[in-house]
C-alpha cells in the first residue's frame, strides 16, 4: 500500500497538523511516512500545503506532482491541485467558500461541511479533524486506534485532555462525508 | 669582580617571566607590544594560572604573540578573537581566556565581535593595544587614527569629513552592562607599566570571579608607522594620543566612573 496525498488550504486551517497526525498514525502501524510542507512567505496567512506519503515500502520522492488523494480547503488550492489528482483518485473538499467546484469526472469527489460542523460543535479548532475523519471514512489507510496513539505521541501531555474531543470530531467527519 | 660571582640568586633583582619564551621579539625597538606581552604574562604567572590559561592572538603586529607567550594559544582570523575566545570559554568555563588585539583588529574589522562579546558579558579578558595605526601592513589608517594624522591611506592627514572620527571603542563598550572592568592604560614609563600591570591583574581577577568582561586598553606608540624615533613617538603619544584617549579607569566594579 502506498498513499500519496496533498492537503492544501489557508494557513491556520490546520493543514500541516492534519498531515502530521496522519504521518504519526502511519508510524504507529509500522509504515514509512514522509511529510513535505510548502514553506516560506506563504506560510504567513497565505495558502499552505503539505505532501504526505504513507507506504509499506521505502519512500522515494517526497516531492510529487500527482496524488492519490487531494484534500483541498480553499479556492486557490482547488484551482491549483484539482488537475493533480490521479485518474481514479479522490478529491475531498469543504464546499464552504468554494465558488468553482471541481468538474472532473475521472476521479471520485467527496465533500465535508467541515467549517459548518466545527462551528456547530462549538470549536473551530477541530475543523481539520472533522475533515480528517471524512478522509478516513473514504480511505481507512490508518486505523482509528493508531490515530489516537499518534495523537498521544505528537501532542504534549498537557493537551491529552483534548483527545476525546478530537475523536468526536473524527466521528463527526466520518458520519457526514458525502460522495458527489 | 667576576661576573659569575654577581650572577647569584641573592643578587637577583629582576627576572624575565618564564611565561615569555626565549624567541627574540619581532617588534620594532621602542614599541609597546613587548612590554604589554610581558606584563600580561607576569600577571598570569603571579596568579599561578598558566596551566589554565588560553590566549587568543589577533591579526596585526601581534599575530605572532604565540611565539612569545609560553602558554597554549590560538591565532584568530582578523577581528574574530572575541568570538574565538567565546568558543573556548563557553566550552572550558573553568579556564582563563584572554584575547590580545590591536586597534584595526578589535575596533574596525572585529567591531561586531568585540561589541557582542562585551554585551554578552563573556567572562574573558580583552587586552586592546591602540597605537592609532595599522603597523604590520605598513602604516595604514586605523579606526583610532587621530584627526589630521598622516598614514599611508590618509597621506594628507585623516580628514574627518570623509574618513570619519577616531573610534573610542573603550568608552563605547563601557556603556554595555556586560562589561565589568574597563580601563585605559599606557606602558611608556615605569610608573605607567606598573599601573597597567595592576589593571591587567584586576582584569584576570574579574574573570576568576566570573563577574563579566574585563577590557584593558593600552595606548601605545608606533614609531615605525608614525615615522619617528622611539623617544619622539612616546612624546607625540603623550601630547596627541592621550588628550583624545585619556588614561584611567572608565568602569570599575561594573560602575562607570563619572
Amino acid at each position: 500500500m502506498t498513499e500519496e496525498m496533498i492537503i492544501a488550504g489557508f494557513g491556520g486551517q490546520g493543514v500541516l497538523s492534519m498531515g502530521k497526525i496522519l504521518a504519526y498514525s502511519g508510524i504507529m502501524q509500522d509504515q514509512e511516512v514522509s511529510w513535505m510542507p510548502s514553506y516560506g512567505p506563504e506560510m504567513r496567512g497565505g495558502t499552505a500545503n503539505v505532501t504526505v506519503i504513507v507506504s509499506d515500502e521505502r519512500i522515494s520522492s517526497p516531492i510529487l506532482t500527482h496524488y492519490d488523494t487531494a484534500i483541498l480547503l480553499n479556492q486557490q488550492s482547488m484551482d491549483k491541485f484539482e488537475k493533480s489528482v490521479k485518474p481514479g483518485g479522490v478529491l475531498l473538499y469543504d464546499p464552504n467558500g468554494i465558488l468553482h467546484h471541481p468538474t472532473r469526472t475521472d476521479i471520485k469527489i467527496y465533500t465535508i461541511e467541515g467549517a459548518k460542523l466545527a462551528s456547530q460543535m462549538g470549536n473551530p479548532n477541530i475543523f481539520n479533524m472533522i475533515v480528517f475523519g471524512a478522509f478516513l471514512k473514504i480511505k481507512p489507510i490508518v486505523k482509528l486506534e493508531n490515530v489516537i496513539r499518534g495523537l498521544k505521541k505528537s501532542l504534549p501531555e498537557r493537551h491529552h485532555k483534548l483527545i476525546p474531543l478530537n475523536e468526536d470530531a473524527i466521528s463527526m467527519g466520518m458520519n457526514n462525508v458525502v460522495e458527489k | 669582580m667576576d661576573i659569575k660571582e654577581i650572577i647569584k640568586p641573592e643578587n637577583l633583582v629582576y627576572q624575565k617571566t618564564k611565561l615569555m619564551t626565549d624567541a627574540p621579539l619581532s617588534y620594532c625597538p621602542g614599541c609597546g607590544h613587548g612590554t604589554a606581552h610581558r606584563i600580561t604574562m607576569e600577571v598570569v604567572e603571579e596568579m599561578g594560572i598558566w596551566e589554565d590559561t588560553i590566549g587568543v592572538a589577533p591579526v596585526g603586529c601581534s599575530v605572532l604573540a604565540y611565539d612569545f607567550m609560553n602558554i597554549d594559544m590560538t591565532q584568530a582570523a582578523h577581528g574574530r578573537a572575541p568570538a574565538v575566545a567565546t568558543g573556548i570559554k563557553r566550552t572550558w568555563p573553568e579556564k582563563f581566556v584572554f584575547t590580545y588585539q590591536g586597534d584595526g583588529d578589535l575596533a574596525a574589522i572585529g567591531g561586531n565581535e568585540t561589541l557582542h562579546a562585551c554585551n554578552r558579558g563573556e567572562n574573558i579578558v580583552i587586552i586592546f593595544v591602540n597605537n592609532g595605526i595599522y603597523g604590520m601592513t605598513g602604516g595604514q589608517m586605523a579606526p583610532t587614527t587621530l584627526p589630521g594624522m598622516k598614514s599611508s591611506t590618509s597621506p594628507y592627514g585623516r580628514d574627518i569629513a570623509t574618513m570619519g572620527h577616531p573610534l573610542k571603542m573603550t568608552e563605547l563598550i563601557a556603556q554595555l552592562p556586560g562589561t565589568y572592568f574597563v580601563t585605559r592604560q599606557a606602558v611608556h614609563t615605569p610608573a605607567a607599566v606598573r599601573k597597567a600591570k595592576k589593571a591587567i591583574r584586576i582584569a584576570f581577577e574579574t574573570q576568576r570571579e566570573k563577574k563579566g568582561l574585563a577590557f584593558v586598553e593600552i595606548v601605545s606608540n608606533c614609531n615605525s608607522g608614525w615615522k619617528m624615533n622611539p623617544v619622539d613617538a612616546n612624546n607625540w603619544m603623550v601630547d596627541n594620543m592621550f588628550p583624545y584617549f585619556p588614561l584611567g579607569d572608565i568602569k570599575v566594579n561594573g560602575e562607570l566612573i563619572k
Partner: protein, 361 residues
C-alpha cells in the same frame, strides 16, 4: 534505547547532535534551517548533557566560536543555509588550515545573493572544491533522508576527528523541512575534560601543563617553503580520504543501461523517476552519492564500462555534472538535468529529461 519519532530533518540534526555527545553548537538563524537552533534552545541540552548552545551575533562569529572551541578538542558544530555559509567561509578556511575537527551543516537554498529560501543544490562547488581561500577540502556528506540527517552527525564527527578536518553535511530545504520516520540512537556520553586532554593533548589548547610544550592553533606560516610543506601534508590527507572515505549507494545499477547520478533530495526524486522508467521498460539505475568529497570517481568510471549513458540530476545549473564527466572521462555520454533557483524538479520532469537526453528516441 532507540526511539522511533516523526521529525523534520533540521530537528533530527539538532537531536542527533545532543545524542552524539556534542559539546557545543554555535549558530545564527537563517531560513530554511532555523529549526536547528530553535530545537536546541527548546531542548535545553545544557540540562541533558551539558552541551553548550549559543546564538551568535553573525555566522562569522559562530564559525569563529567553533574554531576556538574546536581548537580545544571539543566536539563542536554549526549550521546555516547558503548565504550564511558564504559568510562562514573565512572561518572554515582557517579551521581547514589549522587542521581542526568540526561539523558544519548547510541546508542549501537558492542563490546567488540573497536568492530564495526554497531548496537548492547550487552550493556543490562551494562545498566540494574548498569554498574559502586556499587549497583545502572538506569531507562532504549528503543525507537523502531525515534518518541520514541524524545518522550523519555522529559519522561526521568520527570523520572530523579521524582526519582533524572540517566535515560538511550538505543538505537542502527539502531534507531540512521534511518530516519522516526516524529511529534515534542511544545517548552517547560527552567526553570529560580529562578524556579530551588524554586523547587530544598533543594538539589541543587546553592549557599548558609543565609536562608538555605549548600547543598553538594557527594557520599562519611566514616562510612559504614551510607553508608549501604544510600544504603537501594537507594534500596527502585529502588523498587518504579519497582512498578510504568514498560512500555511495548503487540501486539497480547491475543490469542498468542508463544511470542517474544524484545526491540528497534529487536522489530521492530520481529514485521515483527510476521506478517510472522501469515501469516503462527502461533499465535505469540510480547511483546515489553519499560522500561528495571524496567523489566516487573510480566506481563511476567502472560503471561507464557497462552502461550506455549517465544523467546527472541536481538542483543547480550544472555543478556535480563536472565531476561526473571527469569520472566517466568520455567513455559514455553524461548529461545534466536540474531545475534551480529554488524550483524543485519532479520525478516526471526528470523522466522526460532522461528520455530526451540519454535514452533518446
Amino acid at each position: 534505547m532507540s526511539e522511533v519519532k516523526l521529525m523534520k530533518g533540521n530537528e533530527a540534526v539538532a537531536e542527533a547532535a545532543i545524542l552524539a555527545g556534542v559539546d557545543a553548537y554555535f549558530g545564527y538563524p537563517i531560513t530554511p534551517q532555523s529549526e536547528v537552533i530553535e530545537y536546541l534552545m527548546v531542548e535545553r541540552p545544557e540540562d541533558r548533557t551539558g552541551m553548550v548552545v549559543l546564538q551568535a551575533e553573525s555566522e562569522i562569529a559562530a564559525i569563529n566560536m567553533v574554531y576556538g572551541a574546536a581548537g580545544t578538542g571539543k566536539r563542536v558544530m554549526t549550521s546555516s543555509s547558503s548565504p550564511g555559509v558564504s559568510l562562514k567561509q573565512e572561518g572554515i578556511s582557517y579551521i581547514a588550515g589549522s587542521e581542526l575537527p568540526c561539523v558544519i551543516v548547510n541546508v542549501v537554498r537558492g542563490g546567488p545573493g540573497l536568492g530564495t529560501i526554497q531548496p537548492s543544490q547550487a552550493d556543490y562547488f562551494q562545498s566540494t572544491k574548498g569554498g574559502g581561500h586556499g587549497d583545502y577540502r572538506l569531507l562532504v556528506l549528503a543525507p537523502a533522508s531525515v534518518q541520514e540527517m541524524a545518522d550523519f552527525v555522529d559519522l561526521a564527527f568520527d570523520l572530523a576527528f579521524k582526519y582533524r578536518n572540517p566535515v560538511m553535511i550538505l543538505s537542502d530545504g527539502v531534507i531540512g523541512q521534511m518530516m519522516e520516520k526516524i529511529t534515534l540512537p542511544a545517548q552517547k556520553p560527552r567526553l570529560s575534560n580529562e578524556e579530551i586532554i588524554e586523547r587530544y593533548g598533543d594538539w589541543a589548547t587546553t592549557g599548558k601543563p609543565s609536562t608538555r610544550e605549548r600547543n598553538i592553533i594557527t594557520s599562519l606560516e611566514l616562510d612559504p617553503y614551510r607553508q608549501e610543506t604544510h600544504n603537501h601534508k594537507l594534500q596527502a590527507k585529502y588523498k587518504k580520504m579519497e582512498e578510504n572515505e568514498v560512500r555511495f549507494e548503487a540501486i539497480n545499477c547491475e543490469d542498468a543501461d542508463y544511470v542517474i547520478v544524484a545526491y540528497g533530495s534529487s536522489a530521492r526524486i530520481s529514485q521515483k523517476t527510476m521506478q517510472l522508467a522501469r515501469a516503462k521498460g527502461h533499465k535505469v539505475g540510480l547511483f546515489r552519492l553519499i560522500s561528495l568529497f571524496p567523489f566516487p570517481k573510480n566506481e563511476l568510471n567502472k560503471l561507464a564500462d557497462t552502461v550506455k549513458g549517465f544523467l546527472a540530476v541536481e538542483m543547480s545549473a550544472g555543478q556535480m555534472i563536472e565531476d561526473v564527466r571527469l569520472a566517466v572521462n568520455g567513455k559514455k555520454p553524461a548529461e545534466h538535468y536540474g531545475r534551480f533557483g529554488g524550483v524543485v524538479h519532479s520525478p516526471e520532469e526528470v523522466l522526460i529529461a532522461l528520455e530526451q537526453k540519454i535514452i533518446g528516441g
